[in-house]
Amino acid sequence: MGAKGYMGKVMWVDLTNGTIKREDVPDEVYRKFLSGYGLGAKMLFDRINPGIDPLGPENILGFCSGLLTGVGSVFTGRFEVVAKSPLTGGWGDANCGGDLSPAIKKAGVDAIFFTGISPKPVYLVVDGDKAELKDAARVWGKDAVETEELIRKQLGDDKAKFKLATIGPAGEKKALIAGISNDRGRYAARSGLGAVMGSKKLKALAVKGEQKIEGANPEAIKTLTKEFQKGLKSADFLGKVLSSRIVNIAGIMTRVSPLATAQPGTLWCQILKKFGTAGITAMSSESGDSPVKNWGGSGHHDFPLARASKIGDDAAIKYQVKKYGCYSCPISCGGICEVKEGPYPLSETHKPEYETLCAFGAMCLVDDLQAIYKLNDLCNRGGVDTISCGAVCAFAIECVENGILTKQDVGGLDLGWGKAEALIKLTEMIIARQGIGDVLADGVKRAAKKIGKGAENFAMHAGGQELPMHDPKLDPGYGLAYEVEPTPGRHTIASGTWQELMLVHRYSKDADKVKQMKSHKERLSPRGKAKNQAVNSKVLQLANGSGVCLFGLGCGPKFPLYEYLNAAAGWSLDEDQFLLIGERIETLRHAFNVREGITRKDMKMQGRASGNPPLPRGPHKGVTLDMDTMAKEFYQEFGWDFESGKPSKERLEKLGLDEVIKEFYG
């Protein structure tokens, strides 16, 4: 058997009875679904019955590496965690960079799936061919970072050869906004998958191996990597040498240079390299990208540049002591930080991402950078998604402001806009499920239901998932993704912005050429958006099957996704065939939701997010988005019925999704 990029096996761990086995996976499965969450979707659709309790023994929790991870490609170190989501009740996934993905493959498998519930807390140790469950009594109750340290000690792993995924106390307590940590605070944060891990009494996995990961054509992969990196370096050169002129001459360059066509991506790449995602924080608050004051305010009025600048770009990297890059990343947008001053000193912590800075910053009107660093560290250690935690805090503040929650209800906290100290205490209560924290730990949708009294008006979510920090009224493509993608409320799949950064027409001859000089009115128009959004979504399915970082797709030069996959797996697929794989993965994930009885109306954003009612002032003054028209066109692109959500039989036959045909058409 020749090398094919993937390992051809998965591991199954039955936590109820402690059995561990490896299972061969036919080549055909990879050819149809790739690895990553494509493989995960195939396994979960086939083996999970609809209606099961996401926190019960029937749920399957998978850690899936990417098909391209470890083959010599760049930007391909992400792993995908999959399970039925307890937060949305449908398909759940969350991906993370860090360093776990290659370790899974080096241990000889493409994915590790967990079933059942362990009678006592355990962690899984995979050391090459060997795998065993160990007693986690000594780490149960510890935070996610400390758990990593303690397990390394127990394994005598002083050289950090094992790569770990852990949960914090929030995951143990099945907080539905809990995520899964890797490498001391990188997060597979969304979909509430930390709660699934906690429900299984699985505290961690520690994985290492020595198996070689090789593609079918390593020389071709090497050449592709070299060429791509040359493109990245040229972009660097342009960024540094031409500096301010770069933007000015872009119009000329787009006519003569293929590199210049990647202009928005090139700028984005420069921001990531210099600041990480934190670089956009202040600009986003003013431009209307950031939701402000729980989506009810405007940056200019409520969180002006003078305040937003205190937590973004130059300020945000003030405490960075070294840059951090995930496995196979050439740009290193992460950072390791140390805060020595102020009331919340931190000896080692990850730099907060834009999502975190906005979720606690513009959303809660906090401009105290040290406090946000502390909140970020608390979430990373406690094991909760910073987006959801910030959102649930903003929700609580607005409930207090409107008299829905009293000071007594919130444990006497002085909860209000911009009150950082109270937010820190509230976050601790959420992680520990204490008092009001117990209610908020399950996300805004459930909290609003429990609290009642009109609290649902302030619960900003789509399908139960707290909305991310990009206002669809600036880029309606984000809103479309929030409402139609199988993981609702997700900002890392498709949007107008991603299409511009990726120049998505480079990935499909059928896509419309991305128009740069688009007026805002054109952007807001609901019609004609679906075709490119669908291509964007299909490309992302391929990326998430391959372990590709979204930033790699949008950083300037065209990412050789199809070429890498052919070289790694020994295929000769063309663009259309790859996009068909993308559509197949998307449709299978969507079908998982349809089978659970979830339809589009269950995924709609809380009205305020789409401008219903419209905001009275700010960059989105008077804007109301027509989400239904956009969504209808998107459903048509994929052949999904708008009412029932069911994919058409004809389209399913084209995709070869016999398992879905059987489910919906007998």
């Binding site: 342009l238 960024g239 540094k240 031409l242 500096s243 301010s244 002129r245 770069i246 933007v247 000015n248 872009a250 119009g251 928005p264 700028l267 984005w268 420069q270 921001i271 210099k274 600041f275 995602t277 670089g279 956009i280 202040a282 600009m283 986003s284 003013e286 431009s287 209307g288 990208d289 405007s298 200019h300 009025h301 540049l305 003078a306 600048s309 770009d313 130059d314 991402e353 834009y354 999502e355 920090m469 990009h470 600036l474 880029d475 984000y478 912005t497 991603w498 511009e500 950064l501 740069q516 000089m517 688009k518 007026s519 805002h520 009115k521 002032r617 700010g618 960059p619 989105h620 003054k621």
Partner: protein
């Protein structure tokens, strides 16, 4: 009359973050304001010309409300107006 201006844009590898007040004549439009600042010695570079020529036009706000670029750059300014020009970057 005095106009308050905030400029926060990414140009190449540089983040430009400037807030200042500009004295302009009665009847000055947004476009004229930008030309006036670029033509003055306030900055070494013509920031507004650069950002307005970018493949994606910047977000321009007048008193916090969006102004369509370039169509509405002829909008006349009033004493005490606040103008923001921000890069239209939305990712992360």
């Amino acid at each position: 009359m005095k106009i308050s201006v905030k400029l926060m844009v990414m140009l190449g590898t540089r983040m430009v973050n400037e807030s200042f007040e500009e004295e302009v004549a009665e009847g000055t439009t947004l476009e004229k304001l930008f030309q006036q600042v670029d033509g003055s010695k306030r900055f070494k570079k013509k920031y507004f010309k650069e950002i307005l020529a970018a493949p994606r036009p910047p977000v321009v706000l007048l008193n916090g409300n969006r102004v369509e670029v370039p169509e509405e750059l002829g909008e006349k300014l009033n004493e005490g107006d606040e103008v923001s020009v921000v890069s239209p970057i939305a990712g992360g």
